[in-house]
Structures are given as structure tokens and as C-alpha cells.
Amino acid sequence: MSNQKKPSELAIWLGIADTSFTRQKTVKFGDASAVNSGRIYSILIVIALVALWIISSVFGLVKPFYWPTIDGTIDRFIKLLTEGFRNTPLWEHVGISIYRVISGVLYGSLVGIPLGFAMGLSSIARGLFDPIVEFMRPIPPLALIPLIILWFGIDETAKIFLLFLASLFIMTIAARSGVSSVRVSKVHAAYSLGASRLQILRNVILPNALPEIFTGIRTSMGVCWGTVVAAELVAADKGVGSMIMIAKNFLQTDTVVLGITIIGLIGYAIEMAMRWAERRLIPWKGKG
């Protein structure tokens, strides 16, 4: 023991050194918990990429048409923040995309959750809606865009309806499987404790289904975020998707790259926020 020097916290954090427990392990290859973070390499690769970008900007190695210079991109970003894009502030482009996603998921949940419950609890509802749900499930929401444009044109209703459909079937299936997953001993216990059917629905089946419903919401948010950007690429004058599509027409590669980055960051932020909310709201998940 004494011949081992204790590695510093920093070295462990950077992944240069193994923790003293991992160091005692004689078999490391194949043991996933023995693979350390390797964070030093993450830092190095980011530095290397940024350096490469700076070098290519300074020496003009890549045409700005293909990839923007770093100073040009920073200037563009400041311009987007202060002046906006095409007379619309940047936050409004981002905000309207997020608003569409949240509306779509909200309406999808409002219809999908009760529908899923009905399908999980009644043979009639299951029989009635099963063909529709199973038919719609494998269709990518983007494939519905032409039909929705024919029905609603290209206004706001059309986009929100598309996102509604995108989340509807995810939510229906999530709620249905949440209802079906209830352990019969819990329901039996509730009946033996004198609960009525309505009380069992409210106090056993609903809370039991919440984790799956929440997973459904998380999936819906992700799918809708992808769908909204694509829908905005097709037809919209506001929103991050439309922003990068219009910027392309003006050959503003820097705006396009910035837009893609923003889309990625927001998608990541949505996922993180949903995970955080899940831990807060449904701490019992997976512990039944």
C-alpha cells in the first residue's frame, strides 16, 4: 500500500491517474468501471479543433463559402444578438421554435394520455384505436408535411398540428404501456384496502403510469424538436430552422453554422431539463 502514492484529485478528474481503487484491480480490460474519464484528451481535442479553426481563419485556408472564419462568426453572432436576423431578434426565432414544440407536445399529451389510458383499460377502446395507432406509429412525422400543407396551408396551425401528430402517438403508446405495466398485486392490494374503481384509477394506475408518461414526454420533446426544425426548413419565415434556410439563400454560411450550433445546444438543453425534471418529479422511477 505504502509504495503507492495517492493520486491528486486533479489528476483523477483529468483522467491522467486512476483512483486508488481502480489501481488495485488486476483485470481492467473489459471492466467498464475501470475505464476513466480521459478528460485530458477531451480538453486537448477541443483546443486542437479551435486552434485549427483559428489557423485556417488567419491564413484563409478554407473559403468562407464552405466554412466561416472564426472572427466572422463571432461578428455575426454579435450582430444576430443585437440586430437579429431579417428584422427579427434571434431570441424570437429561437423562442417561436420552442413555443411550437411545447404547444405540440402539450396538445399531443392532452389527447394522447387519455387515449392511451382508454386503450390500456378497455377492450373497446383498444380495438377501436389500435389499427390507427399502429398504422401511424412507423410514419415519420415529416412525411405528413405535404398532407398538412394541403389541409392547413403553411400558417402556424399547420406547424403545431404537425407537432401535435408527432407527439400524439408517442404519448398514446407511452400512456398505454404505463397502464399495462401496473403490477396486478398493487391493484389487488388497493381493492382489498377498499378502494373503488375510480380511486384505483386515480391513486394506483395513474401514478404507476407516470414514469412511462414522462419518458413519453421526453421522447416527444426530442422528436418534436427535430420535426420543428425540419418543418421550418420547408415553410416558415420565423424560427431557427427557417433562419438557417434563408441564410443559406444569402450564402451566409456563418449564420447557418451558428443556427446549427444553437439547434444542437437547445436540443441538448431540452434533454437535460427533462432529465432534471424527471429526477425531481418522479424519484420513484424504476424502484417499484
Binding site: 398493487k186 389487488h188 382489498s192 384496502l193 377498499g194 373503488s196 401514478p207 404507476n208 420513484w284 417499484g288
Partner: protein, 270 residues
């Protein structure tokens, strides 16, 4: 008056291929008010079916079940259930689980709070009321299940392998708790178990069931449950009487298991 009467119960499941499984065949049993009865048998002897019929989750093909003279037609708060595990409501705290029955019945809040406090004390969970149940150990979760059942003040408590998922040491401790609750609350208890020792230790009466068709093979009247609170459980379980009965029952069950094996072997060789 008898607490529970099983009157010539038969249970036949019809399979999809037209075959029939006789889960229970003409089972009759009287359980007195305040009696604790344990049921033991090899797997497939219909003991869980029996409990489900008593609870009212299944209706028998033939025969009738009466609790306090009233025929059983469905589940009800007069018959409390304690399951092996996983029947607690993991989204609720310990207190909320225990108060579930009274809350569903719309009892006054103050009364519920008193009941819960008293019961948590009784099962040794004082101070755990606000904990989520998923943070408790398996043994503590079963304590919650017992308290939740008692909170409803049922006449009869049906236990389906309540200690089956616990480690051996916790299990012994919990057996003592079951006896204590039985004495303190004077409930009629029917307990199903796989453990011969547990069945002997907890039952005033022990029913051994035989499979195919499920039926009562033998009944034992036992003194151990009564001694359980005054004597050291280790002494009881080491007493010659206890050991002899245990071996008798074990060889009976082994014989039945071997018969089943023989039967299924001849079935597969056909």
C-alpha cells in the same frame, strides 16, 4: 362463529387446447375467529389459487367461501392482503401507504394520523413515516405492508408468502413480528409459505396441500405459535417436537415432489 369457511371449493381452469387443470378439488376448511393457519405445499398445489379465491379475486368453479357468515363475491376491506413484495405504492411515503385504506374510505384526518402513528410504532417504524418506501429495506417494506393492512382493521388477513423475499435473518425477525401482531390485534390469519419451518412456527394449525388436483393432504395442530411470544424462537425451533414434525412434513413434501417429477418424466417420454 367461524371466521372463514371454505365449503367444498373446486377450481378448474380450462386450457386453450381443451384440456383441464384441476387447481383445487373439493377443498373444505373451517378457520375459527382469531386463529392463525399456515398453508404449505409443493408448487402447483393450488395454495395461491386458494388464497385468491378467499380474497375474492377469483370465483371458484364449485363451492362457496364465507367470511363471518357472508359469502365472498369479490375483494373487500374485510379481508386484508399482504403480498410477497412489490405491492406497496412506491410513489407514496410510508405514512401515505399505511393510511391508504382509511383515506379511500374518507375517514377524518385526525383519526387517520392517530392510526398511522400507532401502527408505525407497533411494527417498529417510528420515525420512518415521511420516508419514501423505495428507500426502505425489504424487511422494512414488509413491515409497511403489514401496517397498511392493519390500518384498515380487516377481520381476516390473508398473507401470500409475505416473508418469502427476505434474507434468512430478517425473515426470522419478521416471523416474530407476525406472531406479535396476531396476538395484539386478534385477527384471523391465513398465511401461505414455502418454508416448512415458518409454517410450523407461525401456524396454530398447519395445512399441507398436495398437487394435481390441489387438495388438503394433512392437517397438524401445533403448539408453537402460542409459545412463540414467551419462549425464545431458537429454543422452539430446536425442540424435539418441532424437529420431528418438520422432518415428517419435509419427507411428505419430498415424496409429492418426486411423484410430480415421475409424472412429468413419463409425460415427456411419451
Amino acid at each position: 362463529m367461524s371466521g372463514i369457511v371454505l365449503d367444498k371449493i373446486s377450481m378448474v381452469y380450462t386450457l386453450n387446447d381443451g384440456g383441464e387443470v384441476h387447481a383445487l378439488d373439493d377443498v373444505s376448511l373451517d378457520i375459527a375467529d382469531g386463529e392463525i393457519v399456515t398453508v404449505l405445499g409443493p408448487s402447483g398445489c393450488g395454495k395461491t389459487t386458494l388464497l385468491n379465491i378467499l380474497a375474492g379475486f377469483l370465483s371458484p368453479t364449485k363451492g362457496e367461501v364465507r367470511v363471518e357468515g357472508k359469502p365472498v363475491t369479490g375483494p373487500g376491506p374485510d379481508r386484508g392482503m399482504v403480498f410477497q413484495q412489490g405491492a406497496l405504492f412506491e410513489w407514496l411515503t410510508v405514512s401515505e401507504n399505511v393510511s391508504f385504506g382509511p383515506r379511500m374510505a374518507g375517514k377524518p384526518k385526525k383519526e387517520i394520523a392517530e392510526t398511522v402513528a400507532h401502527l408505525l410504532d407497533t411494527v417498529g417504524l417510528q420515525g420512518f413515516g415521511e420516508k419514501p418506501v423505495y428507500q426502505l429495506s425489504g424487511g422494512m417494506q414488509q413491515r409497511v405492508a403489514l401496517a397498511r393492512c392493519l390500518a384498515n382493521d380487516p377481520k381476516v388477513i390473508l398473507m401470500d408468502e409475505p416473508l418469502g423475499a427476505l434474507d434468512a435473518l430478517t425473515r426470522e425477525k419478521m416471523q416474530g413480528l407476525v406472531l406479535k401482531l396476531w396476538k395484539e390485534f386478534g385477527k384471523t390469519i391465513l398465511l401461505i409459505t414455502h418454508s416448512v419451518e415458518e409454517a410450523l412456527f407461525l401456524g396454530e394449525r398447519l395445512i399441507v396441500m398436495a398437487p394435481r388436483p390441489g387438495r388438503i393432504k394433512k392437517e397438524f395442530r401445533l403448539p408453537f405459535a402460542d409459545q412463540g411470544l414467551s419462549k425464545d424462537p431458537r429454543d422452539i425451533k430446536a425442540a424435539p417436537d418441532f424437529v420431528r414434525t418438520r422432518e415428517e412434513i419435509l419427507s411428505m413434501i419430498w415424496e409429492m415432489e418426486e411423484q410430480i417429477m415421475g409424472q412429468s418424466e413419463s409425460e415427456t417420454s411419451e
